[in-house]
């Protein structure tokens, strides 16, 4: 395919977007780089094409559409709910495959009925792919950040530990390392004996004053990002967290949960069973999960093509609930990926909290799959 051409099935895609009542939007190819690096982290830097404006502002070639579409939504302030669709080129440095390729997708912003919006995003991705790849069996893998968060909370860990685990969700190696630390707590080391004494005495004011005077003396006060109080409080929290030990039973439960992988139609019962057997109250997260499954049934999606994998998540702090991927049955290429990102719009500067769910279609991979037909 010459790169200047749109994929040959673009017409069908645009038809689908219209039929699914979306507003098609475009965004500039050249984008400010800050929001992408800020949201996705520095690791993205080596995977995007960066350049600079004459005045030194960092710019990049659009590496994806979600952030530009959300920024545009915030700027135009046209209110919610909105269903946006896009189709255009994105640019990434990849070891394999072209550096410029097409993506299309839908971003559903501001729909208050979370379960229905989630179900619709999955159904849209699945439905569009089924049309582009007729009579090819597809599978959906689904995860849920909120269910994991509920399990971690229900285990009764201190807030700091909950945050650590939740933050690592989706990164199995990091999560394993944390579980290892929870199994074998290490005392806080390397602390100045005087500070340790102050800490033990619980005299926060004095500790803060001590930190403050050192900061003054060493010239760190003027521009300090972390205040003496913040440092003192975290020091105390760290000591508490270091003493936290998760007993073997709770660790086993967490590990057992992370290995859950089953057909979506059985997932609600399995999660309820797990919660019961473990004596954990998972409450609203499970209710939300069940409501989503019910909403999928109402739309008439075939649940048998869907698998719930408890450990499936994305280690970025703006994902809040559903995550999903569509592949060909037995295939590994992700044809569509999506999820719920209720925190993203606020992080990007929206004044109100705007719930959001969406997905992106990898048109180059879809094209390869069509050619293999």
């Amino acid at each position: 395919m010459p790169l200047i051409d749109m994929p040959e099935f673009s017409g069908e895609l645009l038809e689908e977007f219209e039929r699914r009542r979306t507003v098609r939007v475009n965004t500039p190819v050249i984008q400010p780089a800050e929001p992408f690096l800020d949201m996705a982290g520095e690791d993205l830097r080596r995977r995007i094409f960066l350049t600079e404006s004459e005045t030194g502002a960092s710019l990049c070639l659009r590496p994806e559409f979600t952030i530009p579409v959300c920024l545009r939504h915030i700027e135009t302030a046209t209110g919610t709910p909105k269903r946006y669709s896009y189709l255009g080129e994105v640019f990434r440095q990849r070891r394999e495959g072209a550096h410029e390729f097409y993506q299309a997708g839908i971003e559903d912003l501001g729909e208050a009925d979370i379960a229905s919006a989630d179900a619709r995003a999955i159904a849209d991705a699945f439905g569009i792919l089924s049309r582009l790849l007729p009579s090819r069996p597809l599978t959906v893998t689904l995860g849920d950040q909120a269910v994991f968060e509920a399990v971690v909370k229900a285990l009764g860990l201190p807030l700091g530990w909950q945050k650590r685990l939740i933050h690592a969700f989706g990164d199995m190696a990091h999560l394993e390392a944390l579980l290892e630390r929870l199994a074998r707590p290490q005392p806080v080391a390397g602390l100045d004996p005087e500070i340790a004494l102050l800490l033990a005495s619980g005299n926060e004011d004095e500790l803060v004053a001590r930190i403050d005077s050192t900061m003054q003396a060493t010239g760190y006060s003027t521009n300090a990002s972390r205040s003496p109080l913040e440092i003192a409080r975290r020091l105390r929290e760290k000591r508490t967290l270091a003493q936290t030990q998760l007993d073997g039973g709770a660790l086993l439960l967490l590990r057992e949960f992370l290995t859950l992988r089953l057909p979506l139609s059985q997932a609600s019962a399995a999660l309820a069973g797990f919660a019961d057997a473990a004596g954990l109250k998972l409450g609203p997260a499970i209710a939300q999960f069940d409501a989503r499954v019910a909403a999928l049934s109402v739309i008439g999606v075939d649940l048998s093509a869907m698998t719930y994998r408890a450990a499936f998540g994305r280690p970025l702090d703006y994902y809040t609930g559903l995550v999903f991927e569509v592949t060909e049955e037995g295939g590994s290429a992700v044809l569509a990926g999506g999820g719920r990102f209720d925190r993203l719009l606020t992080l990007l500067g929206a004044k109100d909290r705007i719930p959001a769910v969406g997905f992106a279609l990898w048109l180059d991979r879809i094209e390869t799959a069509r050619e293999a037909q």
Binding site: H174, M215, N223, R234
Partner: protein, 236 residues
């Protein structure tokens, strides 16, 4: 075919290399006068020396415009992706030692390890309205260490080409990733290295670009063997 060895044009690494090469029976003579940037290796036919600035040597190795180079491991690892496929670290020369480290303000009494830093980074945006900022010239090493080895994603790199140790007190960044040999500059700027914050223990290395034609060239093996013989025989 001429083999080219790139050496730093001045400084400690140049002097140390000339000395090691001499002990290895590979004396270096200048072409023309003493201040020339070209030289020749005695004892092996058709080997030229090109004197380059230290930071260019990694680049020329990656581009395969030179066959060997002597430079700090930090510059090579920072300078090219997929480094071990592109070059071979033939010998560690025992000088130019310096560590690439993660250092934070001493007064961050609660931060001793990368795990502590991960906690602080995760919360940073909520507390300060921006991500944790790291001043460094080692973009690649920092990303690899933070993202891949420690699962820390949420931070921003602020490019710093010099006087990096001053960045935290000046408010340009919160912490730094920089090279240190004695630690005295860090100390003078009230910074401390995290207990598991050593990213790389670097020193001057003889580095070979992995060119296919080297396999059939006995001079390549001869040079590597001679240098290893006087540096304790260890390879990279």
């Amino acid at each position: 075919m001429t083999l080219t060895i790139a050496l730093p044009s001045k400084g400690r690494i140049k002097d140390g290399t000339v000395e090691i090469f001499e002990r290895a029976g590979l004396g270096i003579t200048s072409i023309g006068n003493d201040r020339s940037y070209r030289g020749r290796l005695e004892g092996v036919d058709g080997v030229e020396i090109a004197y380059l600035s230290a930071s260019e040597i990694a680049r020329e190795l990656a581009a395969e415009t030179v066959d060997f180079g002597v430079t700090g491991e930090d510059l090579v690892r920072e300078g090219m992706p997929g480094v071990d496929e592109k070059v071979e670290f033939c010998a560690r020369l025992g000088f130019g030692q310096a560590d690439v480290v993660v250092a934070v303000p001493e007064i961050w009494l609660d931060v001793e390890t990368m795990a502590d830093l991960g906690d602080v980074a995760a919360d940073f945006r909520a507390r300060h309205g921006r991500r944790l900022a790291i001043a460094t010239k080692y973009w690649r090493l920092t990303q690899q260490f933070f993202s891949r080895q420690h699962g820390i994603q949420l931070y921003r790199i602020v490019e710093s080409l010099g006087a990096t140790e001053g960045a935290p007190a000046a408010g340009q960044a919160d912490i730094i990733v920089d090279i240190t040999s004695t630690g005295s500059t860090l100390k003078a700027n009230h910074l401390k290295v995290l207990t598991d914050g050593v990213i790389l223990k670097s020193e001057a290395c003889l580095v070979r670009a992995r060119k296919p034609e080297h396999n059939a060239d006995p001079r390549v093996e001869q040079i590597v063997r001679a240098v290893r013989a006087v540096t304790g025989g260890s390879d990279g």
